[in-house]
């Protein structure tokens, strides 16, 4: 009933694109989260005034289109610094910083959500700053932050569709290449969309579930 000229080889091509989407996302989310936690803690520790330069720097990643961030990084590293870097490297680098900017906000929000009285209680029991962070703040902050973090990770996966601009052939780019060749845009876009949806939807639901459960107690 439905005719398509999509061959097994084409399908494999799409699968490779999907693999690239997952790899780029995974690397960026891991590095971005580590940096984000670091930046977030620094911002809380230093206070608003001392951390203003960091805040400004991170804010740029949230106020400039990702497409431009990628183009700028590529141009700066390649044309200005004349570094021979792969598009894959540039993509992961930019996406990691992009992730860290949002993650720092989430971490800060999580830490701020821990009542000062709780922290004072911990310190009054003789806990060091590190112990307080490790045993009191982090477990409590994680509860607040985890649902948003899941949302962020999924957001990064969706935004990774833009790394085509630095010549990384991820899922959407692969789809587009096939569209040009096969002239079946609707069918191919549906396959591509289904892939994102199948990964994103259950995880988003899970995040929503956690948020609901944890906000109730």
């Amino acid at each position: 009933m439905f005719e398509t000229s999509l061959t097994a080889a084409d399908f494999l091509f799409l699968a490779k694109g999907a693999g690239m989407t997952i790899i780029v996302t995974a690397i960026s989310v891991v590095i971005g989260t580590i940096l984000g936690i670091l930046f977030g803690v620094i911002r809380v520790q230093l206070g608003a005034i001392l951390s203003a330069p960091l805040t400004f720097f991170l804010d740029i990643f949230r106020s400039v289109p990702l497409l431009i961030q990628l183009v700028l990084a590529n141009a700066f590293l390649g044309m200005v610094l004349k570094l021979q870097l792969s598009g894959f490297f540039v993509a992961c680098m930019v996406l990691s910083l992009y992730t860290s900017a949002y993650c720092a906000e989430i971490v800060r929000g999580g830490i701020d959500a821990v009542p000062a009285t709780t922290r004072r209680a911990a310190r009054s029991l003789g806990m060091t700053w590190v112990q307080d962070m490790r045993h009191i703040v982090m477990p409590l902050a994680t509860r607040v932050a985890l649902p948003s973090w899941i949302g962020l990770a999924l957001g990064v996966m969706k935004d990774s569709a833009l790394v085509y601009v630095v010549q990384v052939t991820e899922l959407l780019k692969s789809t587009q290449i096939l569209i040009t060749r096969l002239q079946e845009p609707l069918f191919l876009l549906l396959i591509c969309g289904a892939f994102y949806f199948i990964i994103s939807f259950p995880l988003a639901r899970f995040g929503g579930y956690l948020e609901k459960r944890w906000s109730n107690d």
Binding site: I60, S63, V64, I68, P185, F197
Partner: protein
């Protein structure tokens, strides 16, 4: 290694054209927001309705908007619908794509906001003789808009950033499109896109500050 000479003057000479592009970018963002809010309201009402098909349509829209890339949604509005013989201009495709996305996210925000308003508010309205639509319109919606004002501001920023995706469907009058065209002429990639980045940054700051101002005027309770 550091033999690159920045030529800012050459790029800055193009600033007027880029600012024209910024106006188009804002136009798309504002339109997509206004239409998006209307659709988000409709989606919210559909979700609240007792009709299963209406609920299902709303849920499908919202989940697709939130769980697939915005770029894919714009492709759908441009290349996807072409399969049905429908051909939109780049501007229209971009607008449809972003609006679809906005409506989905906003509807989800509205739902969260509705949960925060006690049922007794609508009940109080009904007990004064208002119809359910009246009590929704005059009692629930104003409170809902206040609660979702910050998420709405964020979505507006997103809408501005998303306009940059128009270039993928051939849009060349918005800020990103103009910058790309100028880049093809002059090859001052870094300088041109750096200026575009600054303009985008300023636009988003104006939106956040403006929103804060509006909020302080609007919500005095």
């Amino acid at each position: 290694m550091f033999d690159y000479t920045f030529q800012w003057n050459q790029a800055l000479a193009r600033l007027p054209r880029m600012l024209d592009g910024a106006v188009v970018t804002l136009e798309v963002a504002v339109l997509s927001m206004l239409i998006g809010i209307v659709f988000a309201m409709i989606l919210t009402l559909m979700r609240l309705s007792d009709s299963r098909p209406l609920k299902a349509i709303a849920a499908t829209w919202i989940e697709i908007a939130r769980n697939t890339p915005a770029l894919l949604q714009i492709y759908m509005a441009h290349f996807g619908v072409a399969s049905f013989g429908i051909h939109f201009s780049p501007f229209t495709s971009l607008l449809i794509g972003i609006t679809f996305n906005n409506a989905g996210y906003l509807a989800e925000n509205f739902r969260g906001a509705l949960k925060a308003i006690p049922d007794t508010q609508a009940r109080a309205g009904r007990s004064l003789g208002m119809s359910s639509l009246q009590s929704f319109r005059y009692i629930i919606v104003p409170q809902m808009l206040r609660i979702s004002f910050l998420p709405m501001t964020n979505q507006m920023v997103w809408a501005v950033l998303m306009t940059s995706l128009g270039v993928t469907v051939g849009m060349n009058t918005d800020l990103y499109g103009v910058t790309q065209d100028l880049n093809a002429l002059t090859f001052r990639t870094f300088e041109l896109f750096a200026i575009a980045a600054v303009i985008f940054y300023i636009i988003t700051k104006i939106i956040t500050l403006g929103a804060r101002l509006i909020a302080s005027r609007l919500f005095r309770y």
